[in-house]
Amino acid sequence: MTTSDWQRLEQAFEQALQLEGAEREAFLTMFSKEYPRLADKLADLLAADGQRNEALEAPIRAAADSLAETTDDVWVGRTLGVWQIEKRIAAGGMGAVFLAQRADSEYTQHAALKIMTGQLLAPDAISRFRAERQILASLQHPNIASLIDGGSTEEQLPYIVMEYIDGQPIDAYCDAQQLDLRDRLRLFQRVCDALDYAHRNLVVHRDIKPSNILVDASGDPKLLDFGIAKLLDAGSYDMTLAVTRADARAMTLSYASPEHVLGQPVSIASDVYSLGVLLYRLLTGQSPYRQTLNSQRSIESAILETDPERPSAAVTREGANTSPSPARLQRLMAGDLDNIVLKSLQKEPERRYATAAAFRDDIERFLTDRPVNARPDSLVYRAGKFIRRNTLALATATVFAITVISLVVFYTRQLTVERDAARLQAARSDEIAGFMNSLFANATPDNAKGEAVTAVELLDEGFERIDALDVQPELRAELMSNMANNMMELGQQKRAIPMMNRAREILEQEPERNGRALWLLYSRIAEANRQVGDFDESMTYQERTIDAAVALFGPEHRHVAFQMMRMGGTLFDMDRVDEALELEARAIEMFDALGLRESSQAIDARGNYANALQYVGRTVEAEFVHREVVTLSERVDGELATNTLIRIANLSGLLMRTGKLSEAESLIDTALERGARVWPENYDVFSQFFSYKCTIRNRLGDFTAALSACERALEVAQINFGEESKLYARRMRSLASQHGDLGDFETAAALYDLAETATAASSGADSVTMRTVYLSRSKVPLGAGDYDEAERLLRAVLREPVELSGSADLYARERLATVLSKTGRQAEATLLFDGVVIDATALVGEGPALLPTLAAATAHFRTSGDLDRALVLGERAQAIIDGSDESLTWRGAQALGEYGLTLLALDDDQAVVVLDIAHTALVKVFGDADQRVQALIP
């Protein structure tokens, strides 16, 4: 074939592809007349175009497999992080699973380590993997194998470390133990519970099958491998995905739901379906579909089209293997149990159980001889069908889908509960169903005139209608309260509060009957008010919550301790620190007495306690408690849990303030590094972490790193909270402060302008926060020698009547004292410095954090001629520096410099040595020309 023949063929091939039927025939006829030699080839090519590409893929795949078989397993023996790989356990779609052992520990800890060899290295794949790991880390349930650790190999392949379960697949276990029908159902219910827990955390498993549910030696089922689980709600950082598209390759076909097979969005209902297949298998030993299914295609078509045989009929099929005789089983299962299983296997997701819990509950009814819910045309069916019709149309309002799902799940469960108690008749459930239908019908895009209907609008509207709804007051209150919760989830606290108060009024009409509901509602009202900053109102409801909890549960109960812990936090926010300390101490005591020391609530209480201790300057105790909190949190919540990382950062913050910079830095680096492994790049907490990193680098005199960390802190705040947020304002102030310390006053001033604008927008121009900006800003005119401006700013900070926090007031007075000293008002300055040194010592202790104050005071007394007092202060500074394990910081060097100048004024021989040390340290940070360096040269 010549090149021109090839080109002609190619051209004709492309033209023919654009034609169909008779037109293509005509074209081919024409071509064959023109180029008879090439006509057959063209026909062959067109025929081949219609063939599958398997012929090209299969040989490559087979060769790769074959190559692999001839190669030893190179992972075994390697160490990833602290995990040493011992042997391969299994291989799966996304990677290989190994048994691993902790290499760094005295005690033996085995774990399952899964390497994602199939993961692409594209950045989005990695970040998605991190996000998923974060979700898994948040799932803590006794029947779910927990995530222990994770990381990347040196080849950049992500891996996760999970709890190792030594057990048998659930179907094999049931057979080996010869469990009877009842025991099988009981075991299955526990699987439902675990899955329901995951669903309530908005995680769908998507690959429920016996090999992912192991039963251990004590008979406890454990769910494994949320490896392909996807998030229903993409979490606090990214509300973009309500449902996720299926990846057809990554599932096990026999247990897959119809929607999964079709590649449609999967949801909770898909897991319910897979549970149904599982239950079918546990009860009958068979697949729900009678045919022998061996090709992928026939399995798929059965899943999509065939109605499953009734389980009671299937047990008599050949190969059925449960312990009672088939005839007896048939009697046991016929009717209710058949209905239950078939309901879970409905082709349409909305006709299945809405939740795993509903599935479980219906089995419970069967086991306790009560009427089951499994029959057609229930409320679940109507509500579900409605949702499918409308959520697809409303895909633009993504939050909406989440809200609807949670609302319906809630209603469904609520109504189930009500029905159990026989308090709600069918007519009432129709009322609710009708209400929901009309509510959502109004929210369709048509009615909204093409604009996306927001969840907030929907909830607002819903609330109005609920209030007018003719149902039991209790149910109405609960519906309202749930609407309010959804409002809260959407960040609409101010809208939620009146809703909750309305619900409260209804419930308070019969307080005895509604004790529990009121208790919950009080705590939510308290929390909502706390979040909007109405602390007094929040306190009122926290007190009521505690009273209600004491009445319901008794005075010594975790719910009481929990509320005390929360109230302590609020008191702290209100600056009533002594009361906060007392309450947190009581909460801790109560938790410990109840044996709940290792609960996350008790850890929270300790964390609050440590923060309060730190705030009042009891730093030694604070450090102790902070360390305890980190240790407990790593053990209880896990090393990668968000809480743990924040607590590590808190400890870092404390150590930083007490001058233990190396440890503070290593802690914050740990938090940053672990955070990078489990969070998205710009997760909001990073702002705090980078801010700490910035301060630490600043103290160490590394302004380049400090600036970039502060810039990241600002960026993350801006991305998450916007430029009118308090956090953004604070981060801007910190960034400005860096430039101020560096001596770049021009940049600093410009950034302080921005910080003032942002603070005015977020807190108000007359706010206390604004005064902290002025305080920080004063370093610019002070450094530049513009004492009038510095004084103006500092006087504004100290202006009555607003009460400043202890440290802001103190440092404002310290700077003002320096200004007074520099402008010849020595007596006033001396008076101020007397108080400042005492207060600062009380606040930060005799440690590195005191050095700047000592430096300022030494300078004042030296220049005003009181060399004795200057010497005493200088010697204190020197003692602090000598006593510290840390290397000399620039702030330390300034204090040492003042001491040296004092020695010089006293003609002390040591002066030259001391000044030289201080000078060298400062030159390294600021360079020769900086005025802080020049000031040391006599």
């Binding site: 074939m1 090149t3 090839w6 190619e10 091939f13 492309e14 592809l17 080839k41 062959d44 090519l45 067109l46 025929a47 081949a48 175009d49 063939q51 590409n53 012929a55 090209l56 893929e57 299969a58 040989p59 490559i60 795949r61 087979a62 060769a63 790769a64 497999d65 074959s66 190559l67 692999a68 078989e69 001839t70 190669t71 030893d72 397993d73 190179v74 992972w75 391969r88 291989a91 799966g92 779609g93 990677g95 290989a96 390497i115 060899t117 199939g118 993961q119 692409l120 290295l121 040196e154 080849e155 950049q156 392949l157 390759r249």
Partner: protein, 186 residues
Amino acid sequence: MGEDSDITQLLNRWIGGDSDAGDALAPLVYNELRHRAGRVFAGERPGHTLQPTALVNEAFAALVNVDITWQDRAHFFALAARMMRRLLVNHANAKLTEKRGGGALKVTLDPAAVSADDNATELVRLNDALRDLAELDERKAELIELQYFGGLTFAEMEQVTGLSSSTLDRHLRMARAWLKDALTQN
């Protein structure tokens, strides 16, 4: 570390048009793929969808400083795809030679061995067909190599080839049709 930067340097020179650098780079990439083959593939069950992509990615991560640009990455993948092809073809040839050398006339009754043999034969035939295609249209053969041996996605192929997606699609369709047709001949 020294080796890493050597490879990155070689890659940069090769991208810059230095074909000697490409020649020097190829065996390094080949060895790396060979060395790592077990890690990736041993985890997969026969019959499961398997992508050489993972292997190529792993080799990339091990050999090249990850901070290089996406375009440079794409060049690496083109090279790696070629090496992947060579690796698999060599492996298939070795297997066939082994069988023939072990007794040309012996009739094997092990069905697994027969199918493995068939697979090796199929790959060698595919490789031959691809070589024939390259003689007619080198560009198209390269595209097939990128897609099937390198596991590049469509978007990645656009990057490395500079072709528009419609052109790319047309080329691939023709190439695939030609190969499938060639494999059904004889």
